[in-house]
């Protein structure tokens, strides 16, 4: 267990930032789920509500940035606390982008719902589920300082990338066979890409968690093995 600061208010401030990040994480997980539901159930109302709710994420982003600035100015954090703070400032950007990707999925869903369905959606919900679990686990890893879990998230990204490739190939076949599907297939293609990006943002968070815990920067390298970081 982490030792407390001599100045207890400092711990309270760091915990507040941690809490806000988790709240934001919970909201984007819900957004991923709702974006998929809007697509699969052809529920345009849900999609529109989701698009309208993006401002909550933006609001949280600003609140967290503000808190972080205050702590940086007043506490001059060092070492582990400094790594936590720089991490929080970056995670917040990734989470906000995930929110944006979800609204993009919802916008494409509204457009798709105006046309007959192209095909049953099987792989996209699977992909969304992977991405959502990755976001959740990346944040759990962050809160618990669990580098093992963070490493798992980095590794899981390849499954999402694999599904994305598969979906793109499948959609290409549709488009080649029947050009009248091109408009819908392209939109689904975008959605696949948005989900792939969400998983990338989760991976970013996980990589930063590894940095926070281990003090070792693994970005822009091959996916880490547990042994290297032991």
């Amino acid at each position: 267990m982490e030792r407390e600061h001599t100045f207890k208010q400092y711990d309270a401030e760091l915990n507040e930032i941690r809490g806000l990040l988790l709240e934001m994480g919970g909201k984007v997980e819900q957004m991923i789920a709702n974006a998929m539901k809007a697509l699969v159930d052809r529920d345009s109302d849900l999609a529109r509500r989701l698009i309208a709710s993006d401002h909550e994420i933006n609001h949280l982003e600003m609140a967290i940035d503000e808190k972080c600035l205050q702590v940086l100015a007043r506490r001059q954090p060092a070492a582990r606390d400094l790594r936590f703070m720089t991490l929080a400032l970056k995670i917040v950007t990734d989470l906000e982008r995930i929110g944006d990707q979800c609204t993009s999925v919802a916008k494409r869903a509204v457009e798709l719902n105006q046309e007959p369905p192209l095909k049953p959606y099987i792989d996209l919900p699977r992909m969304a589920n992977w991405a959502s679990v990755m976001v959740k686990e990346a944040l759990d890893a962050f809160v618990r300082g669990d580098s093992e879990l963070a490493i798992k998230v980095c590794r899981d990204d390849q499954f999402v990338d694999g599904l994305n490739d598969q979906i793109q190939r499948e959609l290409l076949t549709f488009m080649m066979e029947d050009p009248s599907t091109i408009s819908r297939a392209l939109k689904l293609n975008y959605i696949s890409k948005y989900l792939e990006r969400i998983a990338d943002h989760a991976t970013n968070v996980a990589e930063m968690v590894i940095f926070m815990v281990k003090g070792k920067d693994i970005r822009h390298t091959a996916p880490p093995s547990g042994d290297e970081l032991a």
């Binding site: 407390e4 600061h5 001599t6 100045f7 954090p77 060092a78 070492a79 582990r80």
Partner: protein, 259 residues
């Protein structure tokens, strides 16, 4: 160690123990002091950082019952400055010190700076005038005092008095300058000017500084030693110490989780 801070050794403490009578205040200290770099000593009160600093100019010799074991070697001549065969006055000619509170002598500004030179037997007016001016310029004080060199030093402000003490220490062309909490009695502006001065001085001098202000250590030093209970817990590149120290104890101290 990163390439930017690689340097030659100016001095080195080797397995240094120090006793105040029966009390062992320093326990097996071994750290390098790199040439023309700033090395900071940090740690809680009573950890031995000032005791260690004072070994470098044999300040402890002034009191009976104090005892050194081990070595502090000074380069280029690789002499152990703690050896009883070495004259402490000789050591203090090469290693000068600036204290926590400004302590000018009850003399004029000019005579304060000229003091060390006169002790060395330099009395020629033209030489003294030149050396005093250079020292005051190096201490960033010349412009403020050039018209009143013969005023009493006590008439200066606290920050000016501290820069005067730095000028006094600089006048003898020391090889190492020791700073014992040089800014703890100064306001933030005077502190910033001393820090700026240290940054300029490190092109020419090797500096060892004791500070309670960790942000100060982070701002000015190239290397940092964290001391606790008379031992060096961690010696490292300052950047490493303040972003990702190797030892848990160091991390607890610099993040404010100590004790």
């Amino acid at each position: 160690m990163s390439a930017s801070v690689q340097a030659t050794l100016k001095a080195e403490a080797k397995d240094l123990n120090f006793y105040y009578g029966d009390f062992k205040a320093l326990k097996g200290i071994s750290i390098p002091v790199h040439d023309k770099k700033i090395t900071a000593l940090i740690g809680p009160s009573g950890c031995g950082k000032s005791t260690f600093l004072r070994c470098f100019n044999r300040m402890h010799d002034l009191y009976p019952g104090n005892r050194y074991e081990g070595e502090i070697t000074l380069n280029p001549d690789n002499v152990n400055i703690l050896s009883p065969k070495v004259d402490p006055i000789e050591v203090r000619m090469r290693i000068s010190m600036v204290f926590q509170k400004p302590n000018p002598f009850p003399k004029s500004i000019f005579e304060n700076v000229a003091y060390g030179l006169r002790v060395r037997g330099i009395n020629k007016r033209s030489v003294l005038e030149e050396k005093v001016e250079v020292a005051l310029q190096n201490a960033a004080l010349w412009n403020e005092v050039k018209d009143r060199l013969h005023d009493l030093a006590f008439n200066l402000s606290g920050g000016q008095q501290q820069r005067l003490c730095i000028a006094r220490a600089l006048a003898i062309d020391p090889e190492i300058m020791l700073f014992d909490e040089p800014t703890s009695a100064l306001d933030p502006i005077a502190t910033a000017s001393i820090e700026e001065l240290m940054d300029e001085l490190k092109d020419r001098f090797t500096i060892l500084i004791v500070t309670h202000n960790m942000q100060q250590a982070a701002r000015v030093s190239d290397f940092t030693a964290f001391m606790y209970l008379g031992e060096v817990v961690e010696y490292n590149d300052t950047k490493k110490i303040f972003t990702n120290p190797d030892k848990q104890q160091t991390e607890d101290y610099i993040t404010g989780r100590f004790g």
